[in-house]
Symmetry: C2
Subunit: 263 residues, 2 copies
């Protein structure tokens, strides 16, 4: 298998493997040949193969399991419609338990959620300010790990003012049909306006483990804030999602000239 010049060898190997995956020579879920075998096949050193595989990892095409091998990823990109996922119809459809459930089911995948933390805590500084709370006031924290057909796809950490959460009855494990926003709406505190800040960064150590990412992969960090009519924030949330797994979709109207710029 002769490699040409012009491009570095590890890049050429990455290109070949990528094509193989796209052509389904290496089917989703299957294991690539061992690095030593690939090295022999392409006539390069194993270090070069390893570097090529790192590239594919960074692109999210494979997941590497030390001691076992390199596996081709199976889950297709998930489309997140930010502008619509909080609409009541999306959240309550089919008895879904909120926006995420709806989103994953729509793709024919099995959504599941693990509640990693639920309780009363002091909020982080940024959340406290956004929620308009005094120093010392407590919040409800809800931290969830979310899966699509058992693949980890989303980490969500929500903060609600404690008093509001109690009043709405969302301090419980199960928030009922339509999720928290439906409970808030029932007490006249349904959010009507949302903002999201999207940035991309390298994962923390904990996120690397949870998503089985390499340090060359990146994650979206989305700060989601829900507002009432009067401008009060009722939820501060941080979502973390691997970039290779998600497409973000937004929609909005052009009539925003009159409102003050929230910078």
């Amino acid at each position: 298998m002769a490699l040409e010049a012009a491009k570095s060898q590890y890049r050429q190997v990455a290109d070949l493997l990528r094509e193989g995956i796209e052509r389904q020579d290496y089917a989703p879920g299957s294991t690539l040949p061992a690095e030593s075998e690939l090295a022999a096949e392409y006539g390069v050193s194993r270090v070069t193969i390893n570097r090529a595989v790192q590239l594919l990892r960074g692109e999210g095409l494979v997941r590497v399991l030390r001691g076992r091998g390199t596996v081709v990823r199976a889950i297709p990109p998930i489309r997140r419609n930010s502008s619509r996922r909080y609409a009541r119809s999306s959240r309550e459809e089919d008895g879904s338990r909120g926006a995420f459930d709806f989103e994953i089911r729509r793709l024919g995948l099995k959504p599941s959620t693990k509640l990693a933390q639920l309780g009363q805590v002091a909020p982080p500084e940024t959340a406290r300010e956004v929620l308009g709370l005094e120093v010392g006031e407590m919040v409800l924290i809800r931290k969830r790990e979310m899966f699509a057909s058992d693949e980890p796809v989303l980490l969500a950490t929500s903060y609600f003012p404690w008093g509001l959460a109690e009043q709405a009855g969302v301090t419980d494990v199960d928030t009922g049909p339509g999720g928290t926003y439906s409970r808030l709406a029932e007490i006249g505190k349904g959010p009507v306006r949302f903002t999201e800040d999207v940035r991309v960064r390298t994962p923390s150590a904990a996120e690397e483990r949870f998503f089985a990412l390499s340090e060359t992969q990146q994650v979206y960090e989305i700060v989601h804030i829900a507002y009432l009519e009067d401008g009060t924030a009722v939820e501060y949330r941080e979502d973390v999602l691997p970039t290779y797994q998600w497409i973000m979709h937004f929609e909005w109207n052009a009539e925003n000239d009159s409102e003050e710029a929230q910078q």
Copy 2:
């Protein structure tokens, strides 16, 4: 300089360099010590140093110039307010030539734009479908390279139906105050609704060169579509932006239940 176990050496070196940059020991715009020097300092091989620097590259903290050295980046993250940047007030403020101008000036940086392509072409398939054109119908393509204080920050490729572009008088190099959307508005074709699809991918070879990226860095690809009241699309645009340089901001209202889901 003793490195501990537990974490790999190249990661520890990356951590130390990252701290040095954050602490401004290595100031923005300055050059890091040569890899051979760092290798001597930390008591590791140059290959290990090189690998650490690759990580920093991937995070966008440094830009590497072969033969010259490794330079600390200077431009801070730019915040793109998608929901407001197309408002007339944002585009026409201070005689700006559109949303990008406004955005960069606001940060105290110098915006500049180079028109890379302007003319009549056959549209790519996706653009043709979105714009509702027959096969064979032509479009105006406008490809722009955009800079903040001479750093490349954005590649934008727009497609407009040719007839519309002529009518609005935007086939020219200069589209006048407020940019294209202001000209469209003048003929009663001002867009009132926008969608953006945001995804993250590895850069193409051309994008790598333009932005001086390594292959471990990633870019946002944003597909922006502008609609009229009646649902007709008047612009199909693809923006490409390095992820480390931008934060995306979106805002929207919750009243979208009644509209049909555009999937």
